[in-house]
């Protein structure tokens, strides 16, 4: 009997502990919203693909993007339990491919609880090869392909709203028109202009705008891989900055290192325009078109393009 008594909540401390545990349990079980069950659950490895999925799926999807934190380096992402659970219960999973999100392949390999479609951007956009630039969401003129692939996948899991999905994919295409217009303006007015980059982030955008990256590829690869650029690439980079060999420097604002900081300082000292670009959508939850539109307009302005 005495031992039974002991288990009762008989002191303020144990009461607080018990309440604390109860709150924790509530907080954990209350996290998924009730609406989530009706919505199609979509998990994107990177927030640009998540933003496009949101544009296509509208109110009928619940999108979760894994890499979206502005302060974290996407190359050093580690999955936690809720990420893993989201991937195994999702209806549609979007990954980039090209080695950019190997963690997603690992999470997918554990298995799924139900039918699941996996959309790989590299396959949809038909990009492959070991040297391919993985930042596919900067290929503005090609991302509509992804929007339509997503609309098809969503329609398979939610046929009732198939028409909505295909209509909003088309609407997404149309919303890109002003961006593509600016890209063409850059190409016609400044085509062939030399530009520099600290990482290959906006590579596809620069191709579309017919801007030529003249800074050494080894420099960008060294920064991306974290092995530091070698001496000759660093010298070449500095020469281009001091001799005004580039019109604009594209600078990754998301993962700053002393090396890239030094490059941007040098560019500023020689009055070379610096355009900040980010690896993933910034600020978080901004629509894709608004995020890319802002960056593209800044690029056009820095190059002195008349619109």
């Amino acid at each position: 009997m005495a031992s039974l008594k002991g288990t009762r909540i008989n002191s303020p401390v144990s009461l607080i502990v018990a309440l604390g545990c109860a709150c924790l349990l509530c907080a954990c079980s209350a996290t998924p919203s009730s609406a989530q069950h009706e919505k199609l659950s979509v998990v994107a490895a990177e927030s640009p693909w998540g933003a496009i999925a949101q544009a296509v799926g509208g109110p009928y999807v619940h999108v979760q993007s894994m890499i979206q934190n502005p302060n974290s380096d996407p190359h050093e992402f580690t999955a936690n339990a809720s990420n893993a659970a989201a991937v195994s219960t999702a209806s549609v999973v979007i990954q980039n491919g090209l080695g950019y999100d190997a963690f997603m392949a690992q999470l997918l390999s554990t298995g799924a609880t139900g039918p699941r479609s996996v959309i790989t951007a590299a396959q949809v956009l038909n990009v492959s090869g070991p040297g391919a630039n993985p930042h596919l969401w900067y290929a503005i003129e090609r991302v509509p392909k992804m929007a339509h692939a997503l609309a098809n996948a969503f329609a398979q899991h939610d046929p009732v709203h198939a028409q909505y999905f295909s209509a909003s994919a088309t609407a997404f295409d149309e919303s890109l028109a002003p961006l593509i217009h600016v890209i063409h303006q850059i190409a016609t007015q400044k085509g062939g202009a030399p530009v520099g980059e600290t990482e290959r982030i906006a590579g596809y955008l620069l191709q579309e705008a017919d801007l030529h990256v003249v800074t050494p590829i080894g420099f960008a690869l060294g920064i991306e891989s974290g092995t530091s650029p070698n001496a000759s690439d660093t010298v070449a980079m500095n020469k281009l900055l001091t001799s005004h060999g580039i019109d604009v420097l594209l600078y990754n604002q998301q993962t700053v290192s002393p090396t890239t900081q030094a490059v941007s300082n040098e560019a500023a000292a020689h009055h070379i325009a610096i355009v900040g670009v980010t690896e993933t959508v910034q600020p978080i939850h901004t629509p894709y078109v608004a995020w890319q539109g802002k960056q593209i307009n800044e690029l056009a302005r820095a190059l002195g393009v008349h619109q």
Partner: protein, 284 residues
């Protein structure tokens, strides 16, 4: 989402199974790592799988095979260069530094997206596939069988190398054999569950067990027990909707158990001595 919902998902079941297997292997190997003062070798082997993976990637496009072959080379080098216990630490440091440099050289020749090398190389406890599980079971069987075969002579040569040598135990061969076993385990396990997890399980539980138990088999048993509590407990704690990665819980738990062992260790040792004294007095 609560623990119950999580446990129904395959990734969580795979994580617990993989964690249990890794804990058993590491629990068995750990006491020898401590007795032979080879904690730094564990670290070296884990870090250098990067170089092996880079070599595999550049030469054959296969980082995993490269990492495995690399780990055997590293074990051999550490074994040959660091034969004397006094030189072992510096030999590992020398091999580690040179190996990492070689890895950077290899990566600079790789034209692809370099993070692919490091990403593919290191696993995640929440990304364990069915195939990975079979591989882990195979690895566990090989390591446990090998350890059972060499257990007694390895123990003898770890506790008293001079006497073991005098009695004709092939101490040098055993040392290198154990190093290879250790390096392959660390490399393979790191690919499936991540480096940090392997590091904390191959060293901490055995270090704690040594404070609690005295007889070699008891140390191994306690070491396996602590590794199991830390791994499965850590995984279960992380399955609660938290965004904190599971390795944080596993390393935290094993460190907590180590601190506990250091606190109660002296008391347990005193009691053991007293019991021994009583027994001896009774014999007399």
């Amino acid at each position: 989402m609560g623990l119950g919902n999580y446990l129904a998902l395959p990734f969580a079941q795979h994580a617990l199974l993989a964690g249990t297997l890794i804990a058993i292997i590491c629990g068995v190997i750990g006491p020898f790592v401590i007795a032979r003062q080879m904690a730094f070798a564990v670290h070296g082997a884990a870090e250098l799988s990067f170089t092996g993976a880079a070599a595999g990637l550049v030469v054959a496009g296969n980082p995993i095979a490269g990492a495995l072959m690399g780990s055997v080379v590293v074990a051999g080098l550490i074994g040959v260069l660091g034969e004397k216990p006094r030189e072992r630490d510096s030999a590992i440091g020398v091999v580690l530094a040179a190996g990492l440099g070689l890895g950077v050289l290899l990566l600079s020749h790789y034209q692809g997206f370099a993070s692919a090398a490091t990403n593919i190389l290191f696993g995640n406890i929440f990304g364990v596939s069915r195939g990975d599980l079979f591989l882990l079971v195979g690895l566990a069987l090989v390591v446990l069988l090998a350890m059972m075969t060499i257990y007694r002579p390895l123990l003898f040569s770890s506790v008293d190398p001079e006497l073991a040598k005098a009695r004709g135990v092939p101490t040098r061969l055993l040392g290198i054999l154990f190093l290879v076993l250790l390096a392959v385990t660390v490399t393979e396990a790191a690919q499936i569950v991540g480096t940090l997890l392997v590091l904390s399980l191959a060293i901490t539980p055995a270090a704690a067990a040594q404070r609690i138990a005295a007889a070699p088999l008891a140390v191994t048993g306690v070491s396996i027990g602590i590794a199991l509590v830390a791994t499965d407990g850590g995984i279960l704690l992380s399955l609660n909707g938290t965004t904190v990665p599971p390795t944080v819980f596993v390393t935290g738990l094993s460190f907590g158990l180590y601190v506990l062992a250091r606190l109660i260790g002296p008391t347990l040792a005193r009691r053991r001595r007293e019991r021994l004294r009583v027994l001896r007095a009774a014999e007399v």
